[in-house]
Amino acid sequence: MAFISSGYNPAKPMENRITDIGPKHFEEFYPEVIKKNKGKWTHHEILEPGVLVHVSETGDEVYTVRCGGARLMSTTHINEICDIADKHCDGHLRFTTRNNIEFMVDSKDKVEPLKNDLKSRKFAGGSLKFPIGGTGAGITNIVHTQGWIHCHTPATDASGTVKSTMDALFDEFQNMRLPAHLRVSMACCLNMCGAVHCSDIAILGYHRKPPMLDHEYLDKLCEIPLAVAACPTAAIKPAKVTLANGTEVKSVEVKNERCMFCGNCYTMCPSMPLADTDGDGIVLMAGGKVSNRISDPKFSKVVVAFLPNEMPRWPSMTDAIKKMVNAYSNGANKYERLGDWAERIGWEKFFEVCELNFTHHLIDDFRQQAYMSWRQTTNFKF
């Protein structure tokens, strides 16, 4: 189809250029009831899973219906969201920090019609378009990353692992029967764009083979000193290599036994790819949190060193996750986050009740602070 100009003139890029205007002002987007009651909210209640009411000192109320969704979203789907908001919410809506959609109405009687509308919508394949839930002591949407949809470094897919996990945990999205919030996060490589390092349960894509070396092209495509410097374990050295055809080229050498498969070299140099069908897969972490409630925020711990990529639904992964969620649900006290529970019963019991294997991989050996994770006491359970 024909090129349509926006008005931009490539020959004079600075002509009429507008820059540095920032985002739209939020006030334009507030629903009326929000604008009016901002800073005046006195309390809230979760009426049922996915439905909240916030009450203002003015007497106003705002009812919020929260829906899950794939974060990967088509414009068609967004337009449908807009249709709903136009119909029920005076043309306003918001997204949460975990990629749920929130529809807000200013009186109770508008809630049921909205809910019914949302529940009625399904994709052709059968899945719900707008499942209501994600509030309170349950599981909400999974914060995640690009995976095979868009990134160059993933060791697994993001959207697929998330869909599989949310299907497996769906009841917990629509119920509030866990001891506390349980946040699941996903990142497809250890750049950890999903910030899985502080989640109750985290799914992480991980490589297990050192980079391949595309010697013929390496020096052409990469800056060798940058590649060498990129390696946190100093596994990479510059080297001269003789190709099959006899030519000698500048390249690098990798000390495989020092490699921890972080992919940092590949970030700096496309001639050092790590991806491998058998090598790549999933690490599961658990016990992290972000809130300061009762206990301090804490890092997630590696609880399953590796699971292979089992496309398209990663059953071993969802199994292990369900085991953790169930054991936690049965064992923890009200208000107790997964990591606090694991610490209370002891990690040795965690592995027992979650029926997970402990292997030497789970013992820290990275840098000196690894020491802090070893057990410096006789206080342990047999």
Binding site: N16, G22, A124, P232
Partner: protein, 441 residues
């Protein structure tokens, strides 16, 4: 008819959770039919090819995206992530498939009018696929070709009044929880501050001058709904300095199991946890043990409260945040690359959040930190790593903040103190000859 067979992906259409595959198929079909008569500026079948390339990844267990080249819009060093397919002949529709990061509004509130203007633009000039939202907070417009980048940018700025977000060694798009807009716990107006900071630092957001990326996140209270403490080089977390406000009548409503006073605002309704027990559920779980009931009155020893939010979360109608409000500022959070993950470390226990002087105290602090990091930070060294390398003391020094015990979880366990020469009487230079008079060799 789908362009590519997708037997793997098809299996991800079942199950209750919204299927990204179904949505992509619906989008592919909408584009194929083109009932709206859009003059697509990038391949009409790009979503078909996206399905195809992802299916191939499901078969291989490997990504089929290459390293992005450096693409972007003129004068900006961020906002665009270049991306090319490594099987362009199989999937020509996604041969070039760059994303554009659009700076989301504070609190992620939208009008449908605005959203529709975005979808319209993206149908015309991009794949029509998005992420709502990226993990940093941006609206991610997923997939377009190089020539369209400037066009999209022009339309955004001229027609939508909307700028790009960050990428590269820049300030990244700041993000916030919804704050006072809809939350009674919020200790300051996160939406206003995030909007102010984003605009104040447009230059840093768009033009790479930093050693590496830099993130702000703003939480209205210690519940940390935008996870600032884990994901931002500087996190601004609302807090208060005075007492928790107690409504004793409401406390007793909770104790009496009044149905309008469910524990934790109803967050645990899905299971029968037995009748609410204030001793067990609030007082005994208070991490500092600073609460007690005296008769029918709840007492809080506020000097020993760490404002962890637990009691307030459990009884939001009875307990309210204090009135002397501001924020704590923590520095250095980041993902594990390279030296391991960090959470933010407390730098400012309490700072006022004052729009009336353009948040002067906050911007001053930011600029001091940036000056130091730009001076001393190595290439690809995050603030947290610089603090680790040069020491927390150095951070205090460059920000002119006095050391207080609040800065540490516990004082150092090693006595390896690096005394400065000016702190030690007589300095470091000594006379060995004089010394040897008293101490023979």
């Amino acid at each position: 008819m789908a362009k590519h067979e997708t037997p793997f992906l098809d299996q991800l259409e079942s199950g209750p959770w919204p299927s990204f595959v179904s949505d992509m198929k619906q989008q592919a079909e909408v584009r194929a039919k083109n009932e709206a008569g859009v003059e697509f500026q990038i391949p009409q079948d790009c979503v078909d090819d996206l399905l195809g390339v992802v299916e191939l990844s499901y078969k291989h267990g490997r990504t089929h995206w290459k390293h992005g080249g450096i693409v972007g819009v003129f004068g900006y060093g961020g906002g665009v992530i270049g991306r090319y397919c490594d099987q362009p002949s199989l999937f020509p529709g996604v041969e070039h498939f760059h994303t554009m990061r659009v700076n989301q509004p504070a609190g992620k509130y939208y009008s449908t009018e605005y959203l529709r203007s975005i979808t319209k633009l993206w149908d015309l000039r991009g794949s029509g696929m998005t992420n709502m939202h990226g993990a940093t907070g941006d609206i991610i417009l997923l997939g377009t070709t190089t020539p369209q980048l400037e066009e999209v940018f022009w339309e955004l700025t001229h027609n939508l009044g909307q700028d790009l977000g960050g990428s590269g060694s820049n300030l990244r798009t700041p993000a916030d929880c919804l704050g006072t807009s809809r939350c009674e716990y919020s200790c300051y107006d996160t939406n206003s501050l995030v909007h102010f900071l984003t605009n104040e630092f447009q230059d840093e957001l768009h033009r790479p001058a930093f050693p590496y990326k830099f993130k702000f996140k703003l939480d209205g209270c210690p519940n940390c709904c935008v996870a600032s403490i884990a994901r931002s080089d500087m996190s601004f977390i609302g807090t208060w300095k005075d007492d928790i406000k107690i409504d004793q009548d409401a406390v007793n409503k909770y104790i009496e199991q009044d149905p309008a006073y469910p524990s934790n605002a109803g967050a645990h309704k899905g299971r029968d946890w037995g009748p609410f027990d204030i001793q067990k559920e609030v007082i005994n779980l208070c991490p500092t043990g600073c609460m007690k009931m005296v008769g029918k009155e709840l007492k809080i020893d506020n000097a020993n409260c760490t404002r962890c939010m637990h009691c307030i979360n459990v009884m939001p109608r009875a307990l309210k945040i204090g009135d002397v409000r501001g924020c704590s500022i923590l520095c250095g959070a980041k993902a594990p690359i390279l030296d391991g993950a960090q959470m933010g470390s407390l730098l400012v226990p309490f700072m006022e959040v004052n729009p009336d002087n353009d948040y002067e105290a906050i911007t001053d602090l930011i600029e001091n930190i940036w000056d130091w990091w730009m001076e001393e930070g190595k290439n690809r060294e995050r603030l947290g790593e610089l603090i680790m390398r040069q020491g927390f003391q150095k951070l205090l020094e460059v920000t002119g903040i006095e050391a207080v015990p609040q800065h540490v979880a516990y004082p150092r366990t090693n006595p390896y103190i690096f005394w400065r020469e000016d702190e030690v009487p007589g300095g470091f230079e000594r006379d060995v000859v004089e010394y040897r008079k008293h101490h023979l060799r």
